[in-house]
Symmetry: C2
Subunit: 279 residues, 2 copies
Amino acid sequence: MTIENISVNKSFGGWNKQYTHHSEALNCKMRFAIYLPPQASNGQKVPVLYWLSGLTCTDENFMHKAGAQALAAELGIAIVAPDTSPRGEGVADDAGYDLGQGAGFYVNATQAPWNRHYQMYDYVVDELPKLIESMFPVSDKRSIAGHSMGGHGALVIAMRNAEAYQSVSAFSPISNPVNCPWGKKAFTAYLGRDTNAWQDYDASLLMRKASVFVPALVDQGEGDNFLGEQLKPEVLQAAAKVSGYPLTLNLHEGYDHSYFFISSFIEQHLRFHAAHLRD
Amino acid sequence: MTIENISVNKSFGGWNKQYTHHSEALNCKMRFAIYLPPQASNGQKVPVLYWLSGLTCTDENFMHKAGAQALAAELGIAIVAPDTSPRGEGVADDAGYDLGQGAGFYVNATQAPWNRHYQMYDYVVDELPKLIESMFPVSDKRSIAGHSMGGHGALVIAMRNAEAYQSVSAFSPISNPVNCPWGKKAFTAYLGRDTNAWQDYDASLLMRKASVFVPALVDQGEGDNFLGEQLKPEVLQAAAKVSGYPLTLNLHEGYDHSYFFISSFIEQHLRFHAAHLRD
């Protein structure tokens, strides 16, 4: 494993960095961002919050816009933000913003032409944490969070790997992708028309049948244009009731789907994760 | 005066908005952003911090990346961010990032072709505050701040209009533009070769001869690539010593010229302005 540092910015006493590396899982060059809080410069191994971004985003959006570093520095948490899909000239793409590059949906694609590179589930679950834990002064305590498509990814990954994550949180997640336009389009392309192959990538279906729990926090703006058609947090909440899943869902009047919403409540998410990463 | 609202995002209980309007001073359509804290929705008239951005920026960079809304909401301060130059197809431009659109330098241009639109000094000093104070629930208490080219603008505007501003602050300002490459290039183009016309746009020259004071705070990263050649805070500090100007200059090891630096210390700037806006 080799990684190449491509940017360094001091931030709240810690360091915001970007790296590129060759991903085995994705079969292409990938970029990720990491925020290392000041505690990591003092010989301390810090826990890691993985952040999965939404459609059209890269590793940069969260690090530039969420205002998370202030709290990560205070709480001593590293943040790792991968890109949202494989990228590059040889990587399959689509004209839509909601399929292909920038829209990997955190699944392992089984259908051509996507299956050659689009293995974001394996990348986020296995390859990236292994790389982070071998290259940086971090502990093996992990939490995971995300926004929209990334909220879907975070919930699915935490529920399918409950032993690997202390907590999970999401802003405005695509909560029931098998039953919304974004999810149906992406899953049909990446996983095929047989909807049986979709089930393990749907947060609501997973939550309904869960028996091992990861503490979960979801925040959703009531002024979000995508709420009714694409996000469906009420389906997630109903699923949590069935299984007794420890889900806290907060609705917020007037807030939309943007980083203005995320930044307004990121402090609560970081404090939630910090409490579980300390356990 | 008419203004058109083009975006609304709830943020920390307040509202982040963008507007367009026809500027008389600049003779073109302009866009600005305003953050209205929650107090402004409760019938309270809030004071205003004007933020002037740096080269290549628009009204959006500060609102998206500085993380200022959390504190503005807590302290009850509105923030107004104008664009950094006139814009549009009919507006003179240059191939360089440091002249023309995105690089207005907050001066009133006297030289063709720039003088037709580039009157950013008048826009920021007169037209914009008049518009803001007539259209929004704000008081007439103002402070001003900025970054790099905008730090230069904020210092110059505050010193030349000491009665109009309670306080001024800057991150990494171009402190002595008559004596650095960015300043010489822009002032030659906008103001002509006679350097006598440059004097009233140089923060260090103004500070050296000042007799009326606006409390001033400057933060500068020591890892800033532009520090030695373009920014020269030591010239500003020497000028403050001559006139006894109330300038606090803080140097920060390792920080660079980016918004990662600004976001790390924006809280201190907002608290500084809040203390003076309360007076």
